[in-house]
Assembly symmetry: C2
Homo-oligomer: 360 residues x 2
């Protein structure tokens, strides 16, 4: 076993604190990674606080991980010294139809995909008969000095990407890129982005890279200017009905990145006929799904969950190619609890990344 | 003007009663129709009772109309004596993008499409500035001896269809057929139908005609057998979690035809990955749109509103070709108020059609 230092929570009520954890030695086709940078995702907070009612403690979060390979066993994809990324998944069943077709993030194996932390997960519709196909009761994530992962679930970090800023692409980036690809966002499309946080600001940059015209909807007045600074063509206060009225039925694609429960009716009225509102931020029962509006324009609402491995590599490469990257605040891991409060209050711009050298 | 006999409501609180109305003489490219049969749609009841908050009184319902042309002016499509159908629309702006592409039912002209009754309608997102592009304040529907309609908005009733039973195809039939076509329901697909009323029973017959395997979900125990009698491969009580559990993630397409507010979560769990739940019955804010479920399987919910003229002709022809038709109860117009109560209580099997000769 590898003894490892981590930051984790012992219960839903506790702060993150320094702890020792053990990791298994890498087996064939696995790599051991020295973690360099880990992004702080809003879902880390949901999970630590057990807001999705499935947290196993201790909980060591972190699924936006960039690190250096210190040991590679057998496999051929990576060698020692390579800089790689690890996102939300470290394995999947590899046998179900989604896995076979490359959509590991929709794995329908008994335990679904193996989450980088708090895994194994179970699909919502499946009854729990106690079978754990992964043989691990609780995975520990990237708030840690070491990670051991199947090499198939590592991503290559392009050389031209700033490795500090690459971390949030592995969740925030692919979470907004994957639905843009799936629902065919293309040059010239009018794209709306609801919420300008970690996911939202990446949605702006990625949609712009795809050639779209991008409009941001936010509840925070100071983010109107900030949206334009990072490339948005326009930005509005999401509740400003007067300003939004002329935009009715004009968007090809709208993505909601708000992590909390929110009304979606106003966004539906901005969509063109036959288009979709994609909700990626809020994994809860949605309010205000007005079917008079949807039926009248044959519109829909869909959810989307992170992205598959191919999507993740694509968005890393897209960011490198277009010279874009998340806007980050580098933090010391000792400040992570304060950072959680700032994230919850929408005070970060736009993603905090932990410098894991601060763990020592 | 043509003096005409009709049944209509004078207020949201009043019963339907016999009344005299006036219709304009047919102009160029319009036809005057002697109404023979008119279906009773659940939306007639919503509209008469002002449940959508847009009813203009007097309200003469009826948008599932089959009749005989008694006068055809100029146009060339139909001649006197032809049996034709009229559905929910009698005109549209003909200039907007949806109209130009044949989707008159999603007309984005100032007043949207011209409803067969209670028209002109306005799109939900548009403010009312008082412009009426149709020059008619309130159209009167098919609970009447005469209808005057643009010939472009008449459908041909295939000779092999029973004209009494053809009427409900014009709304109930096309409302379920159009989304099946749009979302590409095909032979071998597993189709779920939620609700077994006027729309639901046509969804079963049409999906079977398309080659799908069809399962009905109903809240009414006696409809389990009735569903199978009209062709469903299986039927379940929609709230029977034990029976539904083995069906998780197994449907290619589910259509909800329930006219009242209802939870949709259980139906989402039955859908395969990347598939859609289409809600056509309930034009209200939907309850239980669980985005943990949707995101976990990249599923969505969409609305769909009746169908365009081409869809309507297609579904009439499909019914004729496959020898299918709505199951109807023929009623006397003097019994229409009692029929409304029966429809609201789910006591009709499955669509009531008014024999308009009873008006005399």
């Amino acid at each position: 076993m590898i003894s490892s230092i981590a930051y984790g929570a012992k219960s839903a009520a506790s702060k993150l604190e320094r702890m020792e954890i053990e990791r298994e030695e890498p087996k064939a086709n696995e790599v051991q990674i020295e973690v360099l940078y880990t992004g702080v995702c809003h879902s880390d907070i949901h999970q630590v606080k057990n807001e999705w009612k499935n947290t196993v403690y201790p909980c060591v979060p972190g699924h936006e991980v960039v690190g250096r390979i210190v040991k590679a066993v057998d496999g051929g994809r990576f060698k020692e010294g390579d800089i790689v990324g690890v996102g939300c998944m470290i394995d999947s069943c590899r046998a179900c139809e989604p896995c076979q077709s490359g959509d590991q993030n929709y794995c329908e194996g008994h335990n679904s995909w193996l989450a980088t932390y708090n895994g194994p997960m179970k699909p919502a519709a499946m009854t729990d008969d106690g079978v754990n196909t992964y043989g691990r009761d609780n995975t520990f994530g990237g708030y840690s000095d070491t990670l051991v992962v199947a090499e198939d679930f590592c991503l290559s970090i392009p050389e031209t990407l700033d490795i500090k800023a690459a971390a949030p692409i592995l969740c925030a980036g692919v979470t907004v890129y994957s639905p843009m690809k799936h629902w065919d966002v293309k040059a010239g499309d009018r794209v709306g982005v609801l919420g300008l946080g970690g996911l939202g600001h990446m949605a702006v940059k990625i949609a712009k890279a795809l050639g779209a015209e991008v409009t941001v909807f936010t509840s925070t007045p100071e983010k109107i200017d900030e949206a334009k600074k990072i490339g948005a063509d326009a930005a509005y206060i999401e509740t400003d009905k007067t300003a939004l009225a002329p935009l009715a039925s004009s968007f090809d694609f709208i993505i909601s990145t708000i992590p909390d429960k929110h009304e979606v009716t106003a966004m539906l009225t901005l969509l063109k006929r036959d288009r979709m509102l994609i909700v990626v931020g809020n994994l809860d029962v949605l309010d205000g799904v007005d079917n008079m509006q949807m039926a009248g324009h044959r519109q829909g609402i869909a959810g989307s969950l992170i992205g598959n491995l191919a999507d993740t590599q694509e968005v890393l490469d897209l960011c490198a190619e277009h010279g874009i990257a998340p806007e980050i605040e580098l933090i010391d891991i000792k400040d992570v609890n304060e950072t959680y409060t700032k994230v919850e209050n929408g005070e970060t711009r736009f993603r905090c990344v932990i410098d894991m050298s601060s763990l020592n």
